[in-house]
């Protein structure tokens, strides 16, 4: 059996904010179909890492390699802005914690889903609409809501719409920043189930940033624990959570799971 190559590789990523260190010497590999959870308290450097991995923030040191569908290695931070942005709206996705940051709130759900397709040259209203309807069904939003603006949606629906908007171009790698943050527990469960199914069916690779260990356990295959800008522990998700070794991970697990 031929081992597939990683879709994402980070080599010694470091980010400084002046004197302060946002993230230090993080390396990782992510394979197709794999969900990598990054956990840690706020300020631990998870968002900095996610921003560097997704090409949205220049690292002070290190590089990020994305391997595209043809197997070509692309240094995300060496690409021109145009190429990077094109990549971000075709083969990559980014799901924001707040759907308002990832959706166009003043245009209809259908147009939100269709935007990436139109950016890629889609110019057929009938086809755009058919695709939008298909995706609404996949994310469990009733078809008649296609013409509503997201402002009329509940928080959970907005988040599902944001996911559909990202996945419509069939990306290979999706970055998620606290995708279930700010949602009710019942709404969260539904979203988690949906994400799990989509990840499995599309063979997506996902970098998931979350401070919620329960979410990390249910969604991710592997976990990285960040503390003060460094990765202090990593491994299989259930192993890290059930048998934590680093003092910080133990603190995290004991305070959150029992709290």
């Amino acid at each position: 059996m031929n081992e597939p190559l990683p879709v994402l590789e980070a080599e010694s990523l470091t980010r400084r904010y002046g004197e302060r260190l946002g993230c230090r010497d993080v390396s990782l590999k992510l394979w197709p179909g794999e969900v990598l959870g990054i956990v840690g308290e706020s300020g631990s450097g998870k968002s900095t890492l996610l921003n560097m991995l997704s090409g949205r923030m220049e690292p002070s040191e290190g590089r990020v390699i994305y391997r595209n569908a043809c197997g070509t290695e692309l240094d995300l931070h060496a690409l021109s802005e145009g190429e990077r942005r094109r990549l971000l709206r075709t083969e990559l996705g980014y799901v924001h914690q707040n759907p308002r940051d990832g959706l166009r709130m003043q245009v209809s759900a259908g147009a939100n889903i269709g935007e990436r397709l139109m950016a890629a040259g889609g110019r057929n209203y009938g086809k755009l609409r058919a695709t939008a309807l298909e995706w609404l069904e996949k994310v469990e939003i009733a078809a008649p809501r296609i013409d509503d603006i997201p402002a009329r949606y509940s928080g959970g629906m907005q988040q599902r719409l944001q996911i559909a908007r990202n996945l419509v171009t069939g990306p290979r790698l999706v970055f998620m920043d606290e995708p279930t943050g700010g949602l009710d527990v019942s709404v969260q469960a539904r979203l988690l189930d949906l994400l799990r199914r989509l990840v499995r069916d599309m063979g997506l690779a996902v970098v998931l940033v979350t401070h919620d260990l329960a979410v990390a356990r249910l969604l991710s295959h592997r976990l990285m624990v960040m503390y003060h800008g460094e990765v202090v522990e990593q491994g299989l998700a259930d192993q890290v959570l059930d048998d934590p070794h680093h003092p910080y991970t133990q603190l995290l697990v004991s305070s959150i799971l029992q709290g």
């Binding site: 802005e81 145009g82 942005r85 147009a111 269709g114």
Partner: protein
């Protein structure tokens, strides 16, 4: 008191410019700065060139952008026509024509064919333009992407990277809400296969006239301080979808005055009972038509 018609007629002859003002009001270095901007605009068709717009002796919104462009390109031998919504005799057109007549002394006209520079607000004349003419548009909002993207930095990036998915989102929304592309004015176009451009609020009826037009088309936005241009014989394509192609407006009836069937018509309400008629918006083309058919001058009363 003179009527408007008399005023236009009396005003047309070439005469001595007002004393104490530079030719065409603006100083020469300002004109040179604007001409440099225009050269860049012509070199990159559809691209919005920022320029240091000056204060003009009239408020923004009255065509200060177009006036600065006209002032920069006008010479003593030019013949100027100014229209507002197709008409030579509305306030805006009259005051701009008077402004240039006073500050340059050039000959003015209402006839499209006679003019070398036509400054316009919201229309392209019905009479086909030629290579010796310059059409100057007054532009209120030069940015076609502003509708969905409030950030100037972002819209400029979108243009630079040719990321125009957003523009099509607007068209999608239009079809979704109205069952057809309902934008009837300021219908966005793609210039020379590259930049998406706002044609200023001309009716979409006029859009096809921009395509491969022999005349040079210059656009000036005074408040936003932007210049852009379409050089002669340039491809200008109105945006659309495969299954919702671009179409111009059509009317059931001909012009009530001249009988023309293929001109842009204005709806005129005649009385308090709601009677109305449709007449050519281009008053010069309408008058010409009537003259050709031997019709008598219709009173404006």
């Amino acid at each position: 008191m003179m009527t408007l018609q008399q005023d236009i007629c009396n005003d047309t002859r070439k005469k001595t410019p007002l004393e104490g003002y530079n030719f065409a009001y603006l100083d020469e270095s300002t004109k040179r700065m604007i001409r440099r901007g225009l050269l860049k605009a012509v070199a990159v068709p559809g691209y919005q060139v920022p320029f240091a717009g000056r204060e003009m002796p009239m408020p923004c919104g009255w065509g200060t952008g177009g006036i600065q462009v006209t002032a920069s390109v006008i010479g003593e031998e030019d013949v100027l026509k100014v229209i507002d919504q197709g008409s030579d005799d509305t306030t805006n057109a009259v005051s701009i024509r008077r402004f240039f007549a006073g500050t340059t002394g050039v000959e003015t006209t209402t006839h499209t064919a006679e003019a070398t520079i036509i400054q316009t607000r919201h229309r392209i004349p019905e009479h086909p333009l030629n290579e010796n003419q310059i059409l100057v548009y007054q532009v209120p909002l030069p940015e076609p992407l502003r509708w969905l993207e409030p950030s100037e930095k972002e819209t400029r990036t979108l243009h630079a990277l040719e990321e125009y998915g957003l523009m099509n989102v607007k068209i999608y929304e239009d079809i979704m809400r109205h069952g057809a592309i309902a934008m009837s004015f300021d219908y966005p176009v793609r210039v020379n296969g590259r930049y998406i451009m706002s044609p200023s609020p001309i009716p979409r009826f006029d859009n096809p006239k921009m395509h491969q037009c022999p005349a040079l088309q210059l656009f000036g936005a005074g408040r936003e301080k932007r210049l852009y241009a379409i050089p002669p014989y340039t491809d200008v394509k109105s945006l659309d979808f495969e299954d919702y192609p671009f179409e111009v407006q059509r009317w059931e009836e001909p012009c009530a005055l001249c009988g023309a069937r293929h001109t842009y018509l204005d709806e005129v309400v005649l009385d308090d009972t709601g009677r109305r008629m449709f007449v050519c918006s281009d008053s010069d083309a309408c008058a010409e038509n009537r003259a050709r058919q031997g019709m008598t001058e219709v009173s404006h009363e």
